[in-house]
Symmetry: C2
Subunit: 375 residues, 2 copies
């Protein structure tokens, strides 16, 4: 936690649960990524945290933006981004939403199916389109399913078809999986992308862009490689597969820009021994899966959790405050908290700047959505 965050929590003592984000950390992350990935245009994945304060800061730094919906496009336009800096990166769009984005000036659209390509050609004539290909998510904490992307073979056919419609077949995208821990994970997808460039060129369709997706990790309980290691491996792979005809490159970091910039403060509501054999304490917090910590699903993301107490660490099960029995944060993961932890204590859940506020439910069990502060 940065001194600025610590000071805010100590001085303001906001009521819990709440998220506090240090915008200077977001800025430092952006600068580090932009420096490491020199020549790659960065499109911030708005869905990670669409707070106006974050968008405004990133607009000022020169970032571009990846939007998942028309409301996200409107939010980032309101924050001062020009429409030329926006990619409508969802592959699942209503035709009316494509038309609305086009009307707002957006000219870059994703697709991964014939039907979506046809919608874009009808609703956004002349726009640039890129096709998302399927990759496997090995090495990622949060592997992506087959929900997105088509096979490279289908991508070739669809991009060739795009050339016959009123759109510009502009490139290829992929996603190596969120919180990707292996800097070499981009290699095979880049090889596929380069093959597609060559095969399409052979039939007269010249692509220009490769979208490296997101996947850049934030440190949770285990260390992750430095951003420089990712940049090195990615740029090496690009050169290896594309030779000296380098494509225009873009990337869509979300978690990698805002994850470690935020901390959630929560209150211990109850500590209970349940009289069963296991012997671990149940520690119930005032935030859970439905109040913003949805990414604890299957215990995929394991946030660092800190107490100011100094007692010996004892094993705990961590759960949220709702009446939903699925609202357990960590039962298999080996979490410990100090033996002298007390009801009413505040805990800090670190690295919670991404994928928390907007995942919060509108009011499950009557609890209000996660409050947040941007400082």
């Amino acid at each position: 936690m940065t001194p600025k965050l610590r000071r805010f929590l100590d001085e303001v003592r906001p009521s819990t649960p709440c998220l506090v984000v240090d915008l200077d950390v977001v800025e430092a992350n952006y600068r580090a990524l932009a420096t490491a990935l020199d020549g790659v245009e960065i499109f911030y994945a708005i869905k990670a945290n669409p707070a106006p304060e974050i968008l405004t800061r990133l607009v000022a730094l020169g970032s571009s933006f990846d939007a998942a919906s028309v409301p996200e496009i409107e939010q980032v336009l309101a924050a001062g981004a020009g429409p030329a800096r926006i990619s409508y990166g969802s592959t699942i769009k209503k035709e009316a939403d494509i038309a609305r984005a086009f009307e707002l000036g957006v000219r870059l659209f994703a697709f991964d199916s014939e039907a979506e390509l046809s919608k874009i050609a009808r609703a956004a004539p002349g726009a640039r389109v890129f096709c998302r290909i399927l990759t496997n998510g090995e090495g990622a904490d949060w592997p992506l399913s087959r929900k997105f992307g088509c096979t490279p073979k289908m991508a070739k056919d669809l991009l060739a078809r795009a050339a016959t419609l009123d759109v510009v077949p502009w490139g290829v995208s992929f996603h190596v999986g969120s919180q990707q821990k292996n800097p070499k994970a981009w290699d095979s997808a880049l090889a596929e992308a380069a093959s597609l460039f060559r095969e399409l060129e052979a039939i007269g369709v010249e692509l220009g862009m490769v979208n490296l997706g997101g996947g850049f990790p934030t440190p949770y309980r285990s260390d992750v490689p430095e951003i420089g290691a990712y940049a090195h491996e990615i740029m090496e792979a690009v050169r290896r597969h594309f030779g000296n005809r380098l494509p225009f490159l873009i990337a869509e970091p979300g978690r990698g820009l805002v994850g470690n910039a935020g901390v959630i403060q929560t209150e211990v509501v109850l500590i209970a021994e349940k009289g069963d054999a296991d012997g671990r304490r149940w520690v119930y917090l005032d935030i859970g899966k439905f109040g913003g910590l949805a990414e604890t699903m299957d215990e995929a993301i394991q946030y660092p959790i800190h107490s100011h107490r100094k007692g010996a660490p004892v094993p705990v099960i961590l759960a949220g405050p709702t009446c939903d029995s699925a609202d357990v944060l960590y039962e298999r993961a080996p979490y410990t908290l100090p033996a002298d932890l007390a009801i009413g204590d505040r805990l800090e859940i670190e690295a919670t700047g991404a994928y928390t506020t907007t995942y919060s439910t509108v009011g499950f069990n009557g609890f209000e959505p996660l409050r947040s502060y941007y400082i």
Copy 2:
């Protein structure tokens, strides 16, 4: 779907996604349950759907209410319920919230740990308390974890302790698991409850109440037994285990009162073949896991889904509109939709009156929360 719901959807054509609830179905469910469970006081589990229209209707019918938080207590008071008809049924409460509920007139509180009992004794002097015991969730679509309840042995100790504090040890509760399909599931828990009554009486502590919990199912894709079958088995088990000294009985239905009263209308955003071996179509809707269908987690709850098309049924994978790869509704469950289904079609997701609106996120991917209508 009732004719009233059909007419509303046809005439109003609300924009999608939206939930429409037929309040007459809620009323019919309440009357059927109250008739079947004659002599059992019904506490509606507000968390299932806290819409003011539902609460108002149930207040008029004479229902009592199970609240999970202070905001839920305030909502049902605003709907006209007196505080004597409210149970604060969460076992995880901040002491300040217990005090606030007490101030609002609530006099019935749940606990399952020593710490929670102590909080209630301090913050709600003189109130009635009941202890939740652990049961297994066999037979339920949504088995409950060990998050709630303590062992019967611990319950005995805690209820005996309650008698030494400024609270009234009033009874025992349990939950046989949500969407419970086995009417005999209450038997073993009732046996445990009766044992506790006898053991505590032997040491001079006389309990009065058994809380049967919820678990009453709503029909999704598979049939469930009639409410009469549940009532018969439960009342038989009560008589078997308690003899002619019947306790005061309460139940906490949520899903069983509102589940089948609602229908969600959604639009087909995209139908895609992904070029992979499986061959199934991907059908993407404008609602998914983060827009209200959280209970599709692990495909636990399988809602009936209807199209007006008449084409031959073909296997589909159903997914939501967000960029989250976890936002897939049904991939393993064998869903089919008509071969002539088209993008832009509206589909009806039935039996969605419970656990949908409040599970909706505040705006993940920029999508607004689920709209709802109560007619």
